[in-house]
Subunit: 557 residues, 2 copies
């Protein structure tokens, strides 16, 4: 792959290039009936996970449920054409839904505009090769962010399980109001929600401890195991279906103890441009104002990419970059779809043995079919059941062990972790930005204050433990003053640059100043262990009194 | 000094601590009559430089001339108490005046509030130990900034030399309007300005080529040399005095070919708090609005510190940190006075053989005396003469050789230099901020993409040329995939960490993932040359399949 990338300019219009842009061409010509069977199975299974999740995530985003479905099928079709990984399925995620809820104000028009503009910004970032900026999101920040989001989203659903209404969106207010009004709990919602939760947790635990199917076993055992496996995998759909049936029975009997999803329009919305302005009761909201209102534009595109990176890193996928975007031609393609995310869907897809991205086609079709024929049934889905689905989906994102691990491995990294984790409860985006800044400052501090090893070697031997970049000049100068120039009598110094891999002009000037100061005090500053190109830079600067020896031993003589 | 810093906690209330906070106590007890003579001479000489420069810089800042004097004496007195360097004198600088002019709108009220709030922000930065952030201003940025400021300020004065009025402040508009209206040049101003310029340049050249006074020479030669030296040193005062006399003669004769400074109020303004609100013709401008108007608050405090750093670095002063501020107890003190700057004044002070900061007392007194008795004479100072003083003061800041030097030493550093230089013509502050950002991005890119040396050693040997920080993980992973995992058959790798001085959690996780991937492909990833604490971190992380050998030779076996 890497090799091919390097040779690319030589044959930029070849069939291989077309294949690189449209990977569908790689597997379509070899498609077989055997693959179709497996893809079909996987597509249907994933579909059964996707549909209830889509409804649930729409609830998290504060949008009508059908918007969860609208956003679920497009990714499947697009990724089938442009995707390279057979396992990945694209669709809405809990975290993106949480972010959208902050900016969409329960109005789909804003959500659609936000999505469109975020895509444009991601595309621009891809075209400008800014992908390397994503590398500056460190593991502690991601862990802090996902853990906090898990808590926020879970608690956000507690109100649905308890059947409480009009709870504010902000986390702390939500906690306060939920506990204050816990007496208003609706028994029906609470009972149903807890039962759904218990069933989901039980089924997932069953799946986790499920032994592999061996072909040598009896058919009856294999079939029963397959049934258990299918039940556990499609647990979301089953739980939602079961809850819906219960609610329907009550409705038929004339009483309704549950809060229901309510009317859902059938079919697809018209295919059109995003709404750049919006007609309200007695006026039109112009584009400029709509953009102002969606202040999320500074946050959502980046968060989308960050989340993809976060989830992909959390799943330990080698090629997460392809999912987010890379500073290469691929970025154009993947920037479009990278932000949708992948989690339980992708895991299910991999487990059912999907063979090609065509599995996504089946999933997408299933979503479309449910939009066409099932919307009237969605009316009866209790909100408590969807809440249980959401809680089970996001709870595993909370990683309590990370605090202990960091304490053991690298205590300083607890700072960005805690900053991100705590601030995310205030606003997710502030938490992430603060975390990135904190880990950036820690990184810059390391660079600005490199450790300098001191040893006696006849004269004083100073060895920077890492590279010398421009912010480190003052620190080096301070160390020289402290240990060699400010002592009496002043001491000669050998600066061992074994670990220095590059020098910029500021460092060169700093060294020139130091050479002068050493001369003024009548002592010498000698260099040793300079790498070839570093020596080149120093020689080209014509430093007065510059002396270099290949090794410390020779310099010490 | 360094030793003393480290022992400080043990005797935080001793006389030494008081001395560290008030360095005046170090030299005052030993003050002698011999020192007084030299301090007196230096103080008067510096005063003769400071007074005309203060008038000129007030012109640059767009404020009435007396404000230049107001801002000149306070620094002298404060530094006499709190300063440690005998050479330094504090006062207004050309660059700070230029910045103030952008935000003060020719109204002293705004300038005073801006100064006060800038001081507060600098103090806060000092207390929060943010001084190390100043290390991130690289040499190319400083050179680009000072060169551009030199051109801007010089050109800004061309209109005064030509006697043009109502020229806009923005550089490009200024160039356009100056050349468009060059026909309106007033002959008197132009002639006087050019003569003053010529005299100033001539006197400075004389001083530059002035041989040292040897005690063995004849008295007559020594005296004549002293006169020449004094003339050259006090050239600003002489030129302004001469121009003023010429203007006064014309005034007496009834005609006035020059643009004059005009009325200057006598004495000091009342000592009071800065104006937090302002009464206008028929309303009061509240504090909130005044702060909004002085948008410079985000820029001026930082610029003040930056400029001090810039000038101190440009003058190659070893302890510039003391002048700006350092992350230590000293910062509190120096943050108050660091932002005033030092340039020709400081040079003059050093040359006249000043002995203690008491020289500043004399200079300050001279400024106060001129405010008390000379303001009526300032009326006759032609603006063209002040313009000549300014141009001569700032022209040497332009460094044309830097472009060639950088081309030879480090071409990449030309990018921040040119960005800063060019953008500074638009707005000085944008230029600096952009330059810092560009050099920061270049630095971060180096860290995120460390060079990795590849060599054959039976197996593949990969050696990062510098440290591995968290942004470098993806780059390392890519390199491993490209050269070891994506080739067929996959290859074993030795990762030589000789140059790695620290590891953070993100890198550890990345290495854990890589170890897994190598195991999956049936090849090994071995570590060599780990430093003690780096090995500790990796061991504490319990990486699966982690193998370490002290040297590449042993690892390769």
């Amino acid at each position: 792959m890497a090799e091919r990338d390097r040779e690319a300019p030589a044959r930029c219009c070849s069939y291989h290039t077309v294949q690189r842009w449209f990977p569908v061409l790689r597997w379509l010509p070899q498609y077989s009936l055997g693959w179709l069977q497996l893809d079909l199975l996987a597509g249907v299974t994933v579909g059964l996970t996707v549909v209830p999740q889509a409804l649930a995530y729409a609830e998290v985003a504060g949008l009508p449920v059908q918007y969860g479905l609208y956003s679920s099928f497009m990714g499947c079709f697009v990724y089938c054409l442009l995707g390279t990984s057979k396992d990945v399925t694209l669709g809405p995620t809990a975290i993106m839904s949480l972010l959208v809820s902050s900016y969409a104000f329960h109005d789909p028009a804003y959500a659609i505009l936000l999505t469109f503009l975020s895509g444009c910004i991601q595309l621009a970032m891809g075209l400008l090769h800014l992908g390397f900026l994503l590398d500056f999101v460190s593991c502690p920040v991601i862990k802090g962010f996902t853990s906090a989001a898990s808590v926020t989203i879970s608690f956000n659903q507690v109100k649905n399980i308890l059947g409480l209404h009009n709870i504010p969106r902000q986390f702390f207010l939500q906690v306060y109001h939920t506990f204050q009004r816990i007496g208003e709990t609706r028994a029906g919602d609470a009972l149903l929600g807890l039962v759904c939760l218990a069933v989901l947790v039980g089924l997932r635990a069953m799946k986790g401890h499920f032994p592999r199917i061996h072909r040598v076993e009896l058919l009856s055992i294999r079939i029963s195991r397959l049934i258990v496996w299918a039940t556990a995998t499609a647990r979301n759909a089953l739980v939602v279906l079961f809850a819906g049936l219960v609610a329907y029975s009550f409705q038929v009997m004339g009483s309704q103890p549950f809060t229901l999803t309510g009317e859902t329009p059938r079919g697809l919305p018209p295919f059109q441009l995003p709404p750049f302005s919006k007609a309200e009761a007695n006026s039109t909201v112009p584009f400029s104002e709509m953009v102002q209102v969606s202040a999320g534009l500074a946050v959502v595109p980046l968060m989308g990419l960050l989340e993809t990176v976060a989830i992909a890193k959390a799943f330990g996928m080698g090629s997460w970059k392809e999912l987010a975007f890379v500073p290469s031609a691929r970025s154009l393609r993947t920037a479009c779809n990278g932000a949708f995310g992948l989690c339980s869907r992708t895991a299910v897809n991999a487990q059912t043995g999907v063979c090609t991205p065509a599995g996504g086609l089946i999933t997408g079709t299933l979503v479309l079919l449910s939009l066409a024929y099932l919307t009237s049934l969605f009316y009866y889905i209790p909100k408590a059941a969807l809440a249980a689905v959401i809680i089970c989906a996001v709870a595993p994102m909370f990683d309590a062990r990370i605090f202990r691990t960091l304490w053991r491995v690298k205590r300083l990294d607890l700072v960005p972790l805690c900053v991100t984790f705590l601030l995310c409860f205030w606003e997710v985006q502030y938490g992430i930005v603060a975390g990135i800044l904190v880990s950036g400052v820690l990184l810059l501090y390391t660079i600005a204050r490199p450790r300098i090893k001191l040893s006696e070697h006849g004269v004083l031997l100073m060895q920077p433990a890492s590279g010398l970049h421009f912010p480190a000049v003052e620190s080096l100068r301070d160390a020289m003053h402290r240990w060699a120039l400010a002592v009496s009598p002043p001491r000669c110094v050998i600066l061992d640059c074994t670990h220095v891999s590059s020098l910029d002009y500021t460092v060169v000037m700093g060294l020139a100043d130091l050479l002068q100061e050493f001369q003024k005090r009548g002592v010498t500053l000698t260099f040793s262990g300079l790498q070839g190109h570093v020596l080149q830079v120093l020689l080209s600067a014509d430093l007065e009194g510059f002396q270099h020896f290949p090794s410390v031993e020779e310099a010490g003589k």
